[in-house]
Amino acid sequence: MSYADVALGLIVLGLSAYLLFGGADFGAGLWHLFARRRTDREVIEHAMGPLWEANHVWLIFVMVMTWTAFPPIFASVMTEHWVPLSLAALGIVARGSTFVFAKAVPDHHVRYGVVFGVSSLLTPFCFGAVATAITTGDGTWLSPAGLYGGALTTALCAYLAAVYLIWDARRLADADAALRFRGYALLSGIVVGVLALPGAALIDVRSPLIIVSAVAGLVSLVLVARHRLLAVRATGALAVVSVLWGAVERAGLDLDAAAAQDTVLQFVFFALGIGALVLVPSMIWLFVLFQRSTEADAH
């Protein structure tokens, strides 16, 4: 295994984390936009808790890794897809700032809500469209494949968020809210399945990962129906992330020619290793503090 393979592995790992955590944040924004009831919106706001959207760290990680490890790939992707990627970046700006504003001055909530919701839709759509265009190797984000990929990614985010939020709703609100989010999860799960499977066939993804995704998706539907809320987080996440992995496999990236020199990759891996020694324990500490404070809130 070459250094380039390790770098690619880290990038895919970063993308997976961004899809699972950041994606769920986008999805939560979507449900926030469409939620009719105040309780539902409150559950979403509370579950997201924080002010700054730390999950974008995964995106920044992926970008820095890509431009350091595979500079020509980064350059050509950014050149070719600068329009949707710029839109996605502006969506992140709009989302991140409206979110923190709403938290900081709670009485002016409503004004920011719509911007928050719409940008939650725009950003994953653009990312998904670009990812699909890269996967299929032809077309732009506005080609049929791109539009399909955008819609699928947005739906995946919505599904993930709904699955995660059932548990939060039960913890933070009442049984009725939990039931509604369960409904959202079932509905979006079915929509995603209907979108994903024929799509995979159309853009010629032939991978056992499709079966993994489909099975995990079906199991998740059953688990949701049976109120197995913690188990469904795992199977739901697997169903979603295997779509990404299938796309990576379909793209068949051969990056050795584009890879940076070994000295560069060694430096980056070393830095990441040292960084992780500080980051992991401090993240755990923060997480414990945060859990304690939200539990104190809920009571």
């Binding site: 050149t79 070719e80 960084g275 997480f287």
Partner: protein
């Protein structure tokens, strides 16, 4: 898409090239203010909290909480405006990233790690307010400040590398023998990083002090004395005032470094048209013979290179560089003068307080309305000085994106319609700036209940 294509094509149209540069300048100029506050405000908060621990004075604790709350909001906006910059590196300057991304990528990896540490400890600090012992809580703030300074330093190494590219070889146009460490430790890094960090502390210190100067003037008109406002002014203004003279010294080093390493930029800054010996110092209408040679080389008859020694196609736009340099120097001197007065007034006050029969005029010397009125402008002046200095170094490097190695025209995205990207960014950022200011004003007005739940915390979704 190959490397060669970028080199050959350049921008789609000259207007798109200009738009790309303007967009980068605008978003970076926006971010730099937030980043400065991101470094300075946690430092101010810790200063206040430290005083509160030492003295048990509640006013300090109140200030610390308010500042941290504002720091949280500005951190979030800074995080997203920084994310935009990392997109723009690729969408605007793909040729640059294509060829040299691997040389300075290591610095960005370190920056990312430092930034994440900063974010996590900011979360711990905010959530830990009532959940940790006061001492432990204070200590969790220290990594926020340290990591903030580190992450700024790592980013600046990339810019100093663009001015003094090191740590690689070019063989037949291909980048080889990359050493990320040598790239980061290029000769421009020490002065540039120190200059920028001092600048950001000054921006934050003077800006926060400006806010309280408004309140103090209102108090003065009403004949009130409000200790909260006085301390809210004194702590940040002192931070700025301490940095101001240091900045002048570092700036002097920096300009001498530029004179020896980037003669074109220096000739533009000082408006030296012809290479000559015994160059006079010119500022506005003043002209002192031989002074510039003396200042730069410590020799009144030393020769300095003029713009005529630079090939015509490698000259920066001299007027812009000179004007922005002069703006920076003028405002820097203004801030230095304010800092000197503040030091003097405080000294007089301390001596007067120590004596029997205190002289009210001496004790109140730091709070004279004329001074507060000037201090009110210090925040804006510091921001303007920083932007002017940034313009000096960036425009002074032109036409190179990597000094002497790659032209900016070779780096730009060859797509057409880049200018629409600029318009979109301008529109979104205008709204963002207005909303940020309006939110900060509300934070200032609202009595702070001090509940961390209502405050911002940077952490991922709690799942």
């Amino acid at each position: 898409m190959s490397t060669v294509q970028f080199l050959a094509e350049g921008a789609a149209t000259p207007a798109d090239f200009v738009a790309a540069r303007q967009q980068m300048a605008f978003t970076l100029g926006f971010h730099i203010v937030l980043a400065s506050i991101g470094i300075g405000l946690p430092a101010l908060t810790l200063l206040a909290e430290w005083r509160s621990l030492r003295t048990g004075d509640r006013v300090y604790a109140e200030l610390a909480r308010r500042w941290m709350k504002a720091a949280g909001v500005l951190f979030a906006v800074g995080a997203v405006s920084g994310t935009v910059l990392s997109f723009e590196m690729g969408t605007l300057w793909p040729g640059f990233m294509d060829k040299y991304g691997q040389v300075f990528g290591g610095a960005f990896a370190l920056e990312g790690i430092a930034f994440f540490i900063e974010a996590i400890f900011m979360g711990i600090y905010l959530y830990g307010w009532d959940r940790l012992s006061p001492r432990a809580h204070f200590l969790t703030g220290i990594p926020v400040v340290v990591a903030g300074i580190l992450s700024a330093t790592f980013v600046v190494t990339v810019n100093s590398w663009m001015n003094q590219p090191r740590g690689f070889n070019l063989v037949n146009g291909q980048v080889t023998d990359v050493s990320p460490l040598k790239a980061m430790l290029n000769p421009a890094t020490p002065t540039e990083a120190t200059h920028l960090i001092l600048a950001s502390l000054m921006v934050c210190g003077f800006l926060v002090a400006s806010v309280y100067a408004v309140a103090l003037l209102r108090d003065a008109r009403a004949g009130r004395v409000d200790r909260y406002h006085r301390l809210g002014f004194a702590i940040p203004f002192t931070l700025g005032a301490v940095c101001a003279p240091l900045q002048v010294i570092v700036g002097d080093f920096a300009s001498r470094f530029v004179a020896s390493h980037q003669p074109a930029k220096f000739a533009a800054m000082e408006g030296i048209e012809h290479t000559q010996a015994g160059v006079p110092f010119k500022f506005a209408t003043i002209e002192i013979p031989n002074m510039l040679s003396l200042m730069v080389k410590f020799d009144a008859h030393a020769t300095l290179r003029g713009m005529d020694s630079i090939p015509a196609d490698a000259r920066p736009p001299a007027e812009v560089v000179k004007t922005s340099f002069e703006i920076m120097i003028t405002l820097g001197m203004f801030l230095l003068a304010l800092a000197a007065w503040w030091g003097f007034a405080w000294f007089v006050r301390r001596r007067a307080l120590g004596r029997a029969g205190r002289l009210a005029t001496r004790v109140d010397l730091p709070w004279k309305p004329w001074f507060l009125r000037l201090a009110l402008t210090a925040g804006g002046a510091a921001i303007l000085a920083m932007e002017a200095g940034w313009t000096t170094t960036e425009v002074g490097r032109q036409p190179w994106i990597v000094y002497g190695v790659m032209r900016t025209t070779e780096a730009v995205n060859p797509s057409s319609n880049l200018r629409y990207g600029l318009y979109a960014v301008l529109a979104v950022y205008a709204v963002l700036a207005a909303a940020t200011i309006s939110v900060l004003r509300r934070i200032r007005r609202r009595p702070d209940a001090g509940t961390p739940q209502s405050g911002p915390v940077p952490v991922g979704s709690a799942r």
